[in-house]
């Protein structure tokens, strides 16, 4: 998911102008925290969530940014989902599933009596329709590629067939999906928004505007949407998970600068600041015990890294890449973002299975780096370019990288551009020498190690338009990764993860990246919000898990 959390010059300007302002005391008392009501879920109540940007679309086949991702999860459901607050898969619209021994056939049994918001009962035909729709080129779904392992994908993607050959309706409660190749991440893909189930009649009724008139099976349904102003969700009384959601209503307000949202939250007018705590106010909030109490932090499936173009001089020499790895002072870079991250030693973030806690990576050692650079034939360093997204704090991070590299003689010219322009420069045929990934890449689509390899480190991602900005292509590693992904038996997952660990160790031996940090997420809420922290730092639902949070002391 693209991540443009703190958008633009205006935010920066506001941050500077208001940065010196003392925190305003919160109006209501904090006695709620000690009430029994704080620990037991309460039903009812309405909350307000603010965002700076308009929400783009609520069509699950199309929505693909961090902001609409979790809204769509509250309106729609898929066959698979995640246990709230975790990265653990569980059946959702499916009641159960079985996998064949060869890993190529998945059979899903659907829940009974799940109803769409229009009152109709969901059946296996809807599952089939939804998968056909997302792959259909006319839908122009950004997620179609995830389903390429389903038999018959290519024919539908090319417009030669209307139905995926591999998706079969066995009976109204059973769907069978055949794959061309075993795909260990397949269940994760069925939990992606793109695989969510939509009712055909509603899609046909609204056509291109289905994304503005969403009809799903989710915990909430849409009440009204005033473009550019606000969007209102109300509780779906027919939701198939009894007891959920807790809230009666959620109002999303748009066009609210993060700094303004924070001020309004301090006044009690806002319950969740959707864009988080603006960097300029972070220290102030964290130094105020009253506000800090309402801040929940959690890990994300994210890594910030520097790519080096492995196909062009001087970065085609692994010694040069290793030298750069040793020259970067990650702790100092983390200070620039007020410590909102942990240092990275490897591409995978800690929440991922197959993350290797014991792996230390390249230690910060400018002297050794300088020596290695001399060994590689660059005793006086060289000149190169670093591309970076032009929104704070990315350019400041780029300057820190520039300083670190100047210490070993590498002169870096910073190219600070709009997000879309950096992405297209990185994906161009020949690529660019170096890119700092901050604000653009990479948050995993699903918590599986394969999602951090194929698009951004595999040979296929190195093609034009791909996200493998280092143009790193190691065919032996691709083969090993493919072998790991062929292991689908539930009992053998540990073996699969061990193989992935090995793949990432070998990636680091080739050092196409400098993994710099894993960003943490900080959610600030009003003091009337209740529920365990895990619902406010949910790794899948950003900023919060709307279905599970509640308000204390409902009147």
């Amino acid at each position: 998911m693209k991540k443009a959390f703190y958008a633009g010059v205006a935010t920066l300007a506001i941050g500077i102008a208001l940065g010196a302002m003392p925190a305003k005391a919160q109006s209501s008392g904090d006695k709620g925290a000690t009430d029994a009501s704080a620990t037991k879920a309460q039903d009812g109540g309405a909350i307000t969530v603010t965002f700076n940007n308009d929400v783009a679309t609520l069509d699950p086949a199309i929505g693909y940014d961090w902001q609409n991702w979790s809204m769509i999860k509250s309106l729609f459901d898929g066959l698979m989902g995640y246990k709230a607050g975790t990265t653990e898969l569980e059946p959702d619209l499916a009641e159960s599933y079985t996998v064949s021994d060869d890993g190529k056939t998945y059979t899903f049994k659907l829940r009974d009596g799940v109803k769409f918001h229009n009152g109709r009962t969901m059946t296996a035909d809807d599952v089939q329709y939804s998968l056909d729709r997302v792959v259909d080129p006319k839908t122009k779904s950004p997620g179609a590629g995830f389903f390429s392992s389903i038999a018959g994908y290519q024919d539908v993607a090319d417009g030669k067939a209307e139905h995926l050959k591999g998706v079969k309706v066995v009976d109204p409660h059973t769907v069978e999906i055949d794959l061309d190749e075993p795909d260990a991440a397949f269940l994760h893909k069925m939990a992606l928004n793109f695989a969510f189930v939509v009712p055909k009649e509603a899609v046909e009724k609204y056509g291109d505007d289905f994304g503005k008139n969403p009809v799903g099976t989710g915990a909430f349904k849409m009440k009204n949407w005033s473009l550019g102003q606000q969007l209102v969700f109300v509780k779906n009384d027919d939701y198939f998970r009894k007891g959920l959601p807790h809230l009666d209503q959620i109002t999303f307000q748009f066009g609210q600068e993060p700094i303004v949202a924070l001020l309004r939250l301090q006044r009690g007018e806002v319950d969740i600041a959707g864009d988080g705590i603006p960097p300029a106010k972070f220290l102030e909030v964290m130094n105020d015990p009253k506000q800090k109490k309402e801040v929940v932090s959690g890990d994300q499936l994210q890594t910030g890294y520097i790519t080096m173009n492995t196909t062009e001089k001087p970065f085609d020499d692994v010694k040069v890449r290793k030298a750069v790895n040793m020259a970067i002072n990650k702790r100092r870079i983390i200070q620039i973002i007020n410590g909102r991250a942990t240092p990275a030693s490897q591409p995978l973030p800690p929440l991922m299975p197959a993350y290797d806690k014991s792996y230390e990576g390249y230690k910060y050692d400018p002297e050794a780096a300088k020596k290695m650079l001399a060994d590689a034939g660059h005793p006086d360093g060289f000149e190169t370019q670093l591309y970076v997204y032009n929104t704070d704090p990315q350019p400041r991070i780029a300057q820190a990288i520039q300083q670190d590299l100047s210490k070993i003689g590498i002169k870096v010219d910073i190219k600070s551009l709009a997000q879309a322009n950096v992405i297209s420069a990185g994906g161009s045929k020949d690529g660019v020498p170096m890119i700092w990934s901050g604000g653009m890449a990479w948050i995993a689509d699903y918590p599986d190690p394969s999602n951090f390899y194929w698009p951004i480190l595999g040979c296929s991602g190195a093609a034009e338009g791909g996200w493998n900005w280092a143009k790193y292509c190691n065919e032996d590693l691709d083969a090993e990764a493919a072998k790991a992904d062929a292991i689908v038996a539930p009992g053998k997952q540990q073996q699969r993860y061990d193989m992935w660990k090995d793949v990432y160790h070998k990636v680091m031996d080739d050092a196409p990246w400098v993994p710099v940090f894993h960003e943490k997420r900080y959610t600030i809420k009003s003091d009337r919000m209740g529920g365990p922290d895990k619902f406010y730092a949910d790794p899948i639902n950003i900023p919060v898990n709307y279905d599970h949070v509640w308000v204390k002391n409902v009147q």
Partner: protein
């Protein structure tokens, strides 16, 4: 008069076509590829090629522009790539808020500017006059995001008199209107001052005073109406000033108008929206100037339209 109007309308249409060509060309050469934006990061090269084909992005520039132009003739501004919504709907949903803000700003700038100009002219050469002219100079020079943030900080955050941004009630309207109006108030006060000084020098004013009318009556009944008219005629031109101001002011105050829409679209490189907002603003500016020119002879009979 009719001939003049027809000629001016034709000119305006030519200007708008020119604006649309230049904007379209500028956005065309941007390195952002709409097909890739739509396709998302997991898309294969074939998917991207397919989308590019569907959108007709492989056609030459002239063909693409012509298609867009034909759409415009039908009131079709195209569809946003990222929001997947008709641009016309997005703009229409936000236009009322922007018009309301402009109206508020016009009231603010006239109230402030005319008063300041009048007082300065009557107290010509005194400290009051100089003080007011310094204030108007500051108003003209201060960047709008600074003015906006100062007003927001003082009156909303510290004093709590107004809401901290947003839309809906009269009190939401005050601070953004003031911010947008301060710039115009600076201009108006200077124009009003010189216009008033001009009028006060006229013989008929001296005559009126000589026949014993009170100063108050002379100023308000004889001088003011004559001094104010040429100033009022400038309102049409203000619309152009406002169009550049709303992008900043609406973003600072969270005002859901087309300026905010433009700002969000620029950040996401959502080309059809940028295009649509630019055209709507251009239409507003052209109409505003036309209005100013057409109204002028009614206010000042010395001006003749040819």
């Amino acid at each position: 008069m009719i001939g003049y109007l027809v000629r001016r309308l034709l000119q305006s249409i030519l200007i708008l076509i020119g604006v649309s060509i230049v904007t379209y060309a500028l956005l065309y050469v941007l390195p952002a590829d709409p097909a890739r934006q739509i396709a998302g990061r997991s898309a294969t090269a074939e998917t991207v090629a397919n989308i590019r084909e569907q959108l007709g992005l492989n056609d030459p520039f002239i063909v693409q522009y012509w298609r867009y132009f034909l759409g415009l003739l039908h009131g079709d501004f195209g569809r946003s790539y990222l929001q997947r919504t008709e641009v016309a709907d997005l703009v229409a949903a936000r236009l009322p808020a922007t018009l309301l803000l402009m109206l508020g700003a016009i009231v603010c700038e006239l109230a402030m500017g005319l008063t300041m100009g009048l007082v300065a002219a009557l107290r010509r050469g005194t400290n009051t006059d100089q003080g007011l002219m310094v204030v108007s100079f500051v108003g003209v020079s201060a960047p709008q995001f600074v003015t906006g943030l100062l007003l927001l900080y003082v009156f909303a955050v510290r004093l709590g008199w107004f809401p901290i941004g947003g839309y809906g009630t009269f009190s939401h309207l005050v601070l953004p209107s003031l911010t947008l109006g301060v710039l115009g108030a600076g201009w108006y006060s200077r124009m009003m001052r010189s216009s008033m000084i001009d009028v006060l020098r006229q013989d008929y004013i001296r005559t009126a005073r000589a026949k014993g009318l009170k100063r108050f009556v002379v100023v308000f009944r004889h001088a003011l109406p004559n001094a104010i008219l040429p100033v009022i005629a400038m309102i049409g031109i203000d619309i152009g000033l406002f169009m550049s101001g709303i992008v900043v002011v609406e973003s600072v105050f969270g005002w859901p108008g087309i300026g905010q829409l433009a700002w969000q679209a620029i950040q996401r490189v959502d080309i059809p929206i940028i295009m649509g907002v630019t055209l709507v603003s251009a239409i507003a500016i052209v109409l505003g100037n036309l209005l100013a020119d057409v109204v002028a002879p009614f206010i000042d009979p010395r001006i003749k339209l040819r």
